[in-house]
Every structure is written in C-alpha cells, then in structure tokens.
Symmetry: C2
Subunit: 342 residues, 2 copies
DNA sequence: CTGAAAGCGCTTACAG
DNA sequence: CTGAAAGCGCTTACAG
C-alpha cells in the first residue's frame, strides 16, 4: 500500500498537520521540522492522494471535455491545445468523445457531475432541451468552444462565422467566379450551419450573383459527405466553377470527388475550405481555407474557463470573438471564361 | 450546494446506511424504504460524489492515457476506440498528450499516481530509465498499445511489426520493383523503428534485391518528415521506383513531395504506407497501406487493462499480437521497365 | 432488514 | 510555530 500522510508524520515524528503544512508550502514551519518532513516524504516515496484532497478542498482540478469527434483534424488539434493549456495550469482533462449520441452525452454529463469536475468544455452545438436542462442543473462552469448553441445562456469562444463565410465567398467572387457551389453543415447548427450558410448567401446577393439551388448541398462536416455532396453537384447540367465547403474535411472530400471524376482542382473547379486544419497542407493541391485560430481558440477557452472557475465574474458573460483569417494556398484560381479563351 | 447522502437520508427518514444500500443496489432493503429513498433522491436531484466513493472504495474508475500526439490520424483513431471501450465499461479517461517531452510525461505519471488512476495506457516507446523507474514504482497496472518498448517487462498489444514491414516490402517486390526506397522511423524505437526497418531489409535480401543506402532515410512519422526525406531521396542520381514509408503520414508527405517535383504516384514512383489511418482515403491517389487493426487494438488494450485491474493474472503476462493486413489502394502499380516499353 | 460508528486520506479552523 | 480534533461525503463491517 502506498504510504499515507500518517505514515509520513510517524516517520518524521511530527503531527499530520505539520506534514500537511509542508505539503502545501505554508510558512510557519520551522526549518528543521520542514527538513525532517521532507526527508520522510522522500524516504517513503510519499505522494498525497488527490482524491482525499479533492474531497476536503472541494476542488478536483478536473475539466470535463466533450468532443464531437476526436478523429477529426480540427477537433484533435483544438483538443491538443486545450490539453496543453490545462496542463500548464495544473488541470487535467476528462475526455469524452461523442458521436451524435445524446444518451452517451447525458451519461457523461452525469459522470462529470459525480466526478465533481471544476469546469466543462463542450465543442458541439447540438444542445437539445434535455441536455440544456442537465447542464443548467449541473451548476458547473461551462464554456463552448468554436460553437455557440442557439438561444442558450452559455459563453462561447468563437469566430464570427457569418463574416468568415462571407469573406470566403467573397474571395471566390474576387477571383471572378460567378457560379459558386456550397457545401454547408447542419442547418440545425446555428454557428457552423446557419451562420456560414447566410454568410455565403449574402455575399452572393451583395454582389448580384445568382444562387443556384442545385449547387447548394449540406453535409455533416466529414470528408465522406463532402465527397457525396460534390457528386450531386457534379451531376447537374451546369457545373459551378468554384465551391465553398464549410469544413476542410468536406472540402477535401469535394476535391477528391472532382478529381475522381476526371476534373481538376483548381483548373476546372476552385475549392475553398473552412477551419484551417492540418489537412489543408496534407492534400494536393494544398487547400485554401478560411481559417479559425485553432490554437488560440483552445487556449482562450481554457483560460476563460479557469476565470469562471475562480469566480472572476467581471465581464465574463460575454463571448470571445476571435479573428478568422483567409489562407490562400493552391486550390483556387482566377476564373477564366473558356469561350473567351478560344 | 449539491445535496449529500445525509440530506437524502433525512428527507427520506432513514439512515445514511440505508441510502447507501439502495444507491449500490444491495438487496436486504424493504421495498417501501427503497421507494422512499428513491423518491428522496429524485426530489433532491442527488447524485453521489464519485470523489468520496473513490476514497473509500480505493477505486477511481479512471484510466490515464498517454498519447504521443492526438493530432495524428493514427493516434486519434486509437484514442477514440479506447474511449469508447472504456466508457462502455464505466471507466473514464484522463488524457495526456505528450510530444516528446519527458518532463511533461513524468509530471503526468505523478498526476496519475496522485489521482490514483486504476490503470495506465501508454502509446509510445521512448521509455528512458527515469520513466521506466517511475512506472515501476507506481505499481499501477499498465499496458502499452501499438508499441513494445525495449527490454521492459510491460505488456503490449501490438502487431508483428517486423512481419508487417516484411510483407509491405514484399508487396512492392511482387509488383516487380527492385529499386525500393524506405522512409523509416526512429531507430531508438524497437517496434516502429527497428522492427519495421529490419522487416524491410530482410525482405530485400531474401529476394536478392540490392539495398541502396541513399534511398533509406529516417523520419519522425509525421507528414513533414516524410516530405523532407523523400526530397533527399529524389535528390539522388538514381531514383527508386517505389517507396515504403512506415507511417501513413510520412507516406502522404512522400507522395506530396513526389507530386510537387512533377513526378506522378504511382506512375513514376509507387508509395506504400503503414498504419491504416483515415488519411489513406483522404488523399489522391488513395494510399495503399500495411494496416494495423486500429479499432481492435484500442479495444483489446482496454479490455486487457481491465483484466489486469481486476487481478486476472492468468496468462496476462503475454503480449497480444494482432494481425496486420495489406490494403491495396491506388498508390502502387506494377513496375514497367521504361526501356522495354519503347 | 436496519442503523450507529468507524474509517478512507486528507485540510483547516481552533487552541495553545 | 505546532498539534488534537472535526469534517469532507461516502462505504462497510458490526450489532441488533
């Protein structure tokens, strides 16, 4: 059995109170006692039970994290920076991977409650009434990262998805494209579904560009659905000359589809993605993308949560809006009218 | 403040012992009492403190996981299946992301100790003396997943990396290639460095194929290094007609390099990867790969660990060796002698 | 079938 | 500066 504080006290010939004091770096311990205790700790290889400490301190230094899909390039990256920031601040992560599974999510929230985690980070916006209620009842500080669920009082760290989508579309327009396809997300998602869609639509209308319904599809953010949606778009009589997909994964799927159908990116169709995941550099042509500041987003999410936990309520009610950034790579080119060419 | 067991007892008019009993589903509680307690629990919205329970039960249902890099396609996939299996068995994951940072790893092992995790999963094999000692002293059940550190008494769930690499090389040989490049891992890693390298080398020699030193490079398993190593290989006077990279990420880097240099995969150079990550399907051409059974590996790792935790020591000393599997996609083709062609 | 009491391994007033 | 004692929120013999 691992030694306990009592063993250390006995070994050092002091009270457990004194041992506790040197453990917690309190002053008011004479140097010689402190030294004896330290020696006892070293000799016995003692380390305090976090469990027991948590119980009395009413603080676990645990953060529960709900990720929609760790295998996604975007989420794994934001998770890695969340982990890093948490670790730097002596917090540990209880990671829960949810793949659109409300029951599992409820179960995990229950676990978070029983574990008495100090805070929670959620990275999806499919918050139904049941989950919403659960969260409210929990009474645990919570922050949403990269999303902002509809009509919820929760704090988010996000970008302005509407403007980001607008700017991405604008980029294609600036390149001379006027037949622009769109592969959106789930329209039940406000942040990554609706906002990005409306950014796209409004950019089109602001520049007097016609919206072709058949060129507008909605996927689930993953590569596979980007592929499938692109396939449907390519089946149309007239094809778009550019496509905007609201996730890099879908954009890559779209690129693959285009190339599997014997067309070229960006020769025949330009493609722009969204997120700024590492996939953008792993594919050829390298994918232009409207990037989220992923590392900063994860970091700020944790810092903000730690603020909430320590009760810094000043101005904490506000969302943090980070800046998006267009990163141009090789998947988009200027539109050239083929007929003019000949 | 959240209600405690005492509050429930008072509300229901019974002792805390009785409440505890219905909480733990013990028999020997009269139905009417049980009903009253259940009602009290529901009315008060009570849920037991996992912290307090852990303290007395000496069991936390926590598994500490050390991942070398969650943003890697391979590790995020194995992590997701580990999480799934753990969750199904009512275990939770404390996730630690290590990027070759011994200090952080030691710190985390210390945290695992203080947290009194029930078990540990480690997914890298860079176990130096310090870490080894730490692990031994911990006295916590531990399993290595996908790797087997050199000269350590720890149990691993792995494939036969030597044979897998041999078979991957053999595939290229069967396709008629005789100038075969190799992008290996860290030769300090027995599993993914040495074993794969020797599998490659022995396949060559078994088939009487010359080993060209200039075509043999070593990276760090990531896309970037696959790119850089391929660049060095391409700088040689004679180029290989096929390349085997010991991770899919590096293989993709190699493919990208080849294509950036105006050559084609598999037209000019065939490429085969290793792991079977989802990247294989996300790139074009789709990457042939010597695949590890990732999902099974993660699952078995957890189940084996749970066995260890519950003290099933029978035959537990043995590693689990899973089967590798060659998955042929579009990145390799039969070698055709250009001179014969003309 | 039920409850009072001890104990899990710590921290924290309180008293000296 | 130091220690005895209470308490964190549970479970588990033990007794009845």
């Amino acid at each position: 059995m691992a030694p306990k504080i009592k063993d250390v006290a006995k070994y050092a010939g002091v009270s457990v109170t004194t041992v506790s004091r040197v453990l917690n770096g309190e002053k008011y311990v004479k140097d010689d006692l402190k030294a004896r205790v330290q020696k006892a700790i070293d000799d016995l290889g003692y380390s305090p039970s976090h469990i027991a400490r948590s119980l009395v301190r009413r603080k676990t230094n645990l953060i529960g994290v709900i990720v929609p899909d760790v295998t996604s390039s975007f989420y794994s990256t934001i998770l890695s920076t969340i982990e890093k920031t948490a670790s730097l601040n002596d917090y540990n992560l209880l990671v829960c991977n949810i793949i659109e599974d409300t029951d599992k999510e409820l179960k995990y929230l229950q676990v978070f409650k029983e574990m008495r985690v100090d805070g929670i980070i959620i990275m999806h916006e499919k918050i139904n009434e049941e989950i919403r209620e659960m969260i409210m009842k929990l009474g645990i500080p919570i922050i949403f990262s990269s999303v902002k669920p509809k009509d919820q009082p929760f704090i988010s760290v996000i970008i302005d998805d509407y403007s980001a989508a607008y700017d991405a579309t604008r980029h294609l327009i600036d390149l001379g494209h006027s037949r622009i396809g769109f592969i959106g997300g789930d329209m039940n998602d406000v942040t990554s579904g609706q906002n990005r869609y409306f950014g796209f639509v409004h950019a089109l209308s602001d520049f007097g560009i016609e919206q072709v319904e058949a060129h507008i599809k909605f996927g689930d953010y993953k590569t596979r659905s980007g592929y499938d949606m692109m396939k449907e778009i390519l089946a149309c009589r007239t094809r778009p000359t550019a496509v905007f997909a609201v996730s890099d994964d879908m954009a890559v799927g779209a690129m693959n589809c285009i190339s599997d159908y014997g067309l070229s990116v960006p020769g025949d169709i330009s493609v722009i993605g969204f997120d700024g995941s590492q996939l953008t550099e792993q594919v050829r042509p390298r994918l232009s993308s409207m990037e989220q500041p992923i590392l900063e987003m994860g970091k700020i999410t944790v810092l903000k949560l730690l603020d909430l936990i320590s009760g810094n309520n000043a101005t904490l009610k506000d969302d943090v809006i980070l800046k998006h950034m267009l990163v141009i790579r090789d998947s988009c080119k200027k539109y050239v009218n083929r007929e003019d060419q000949t």
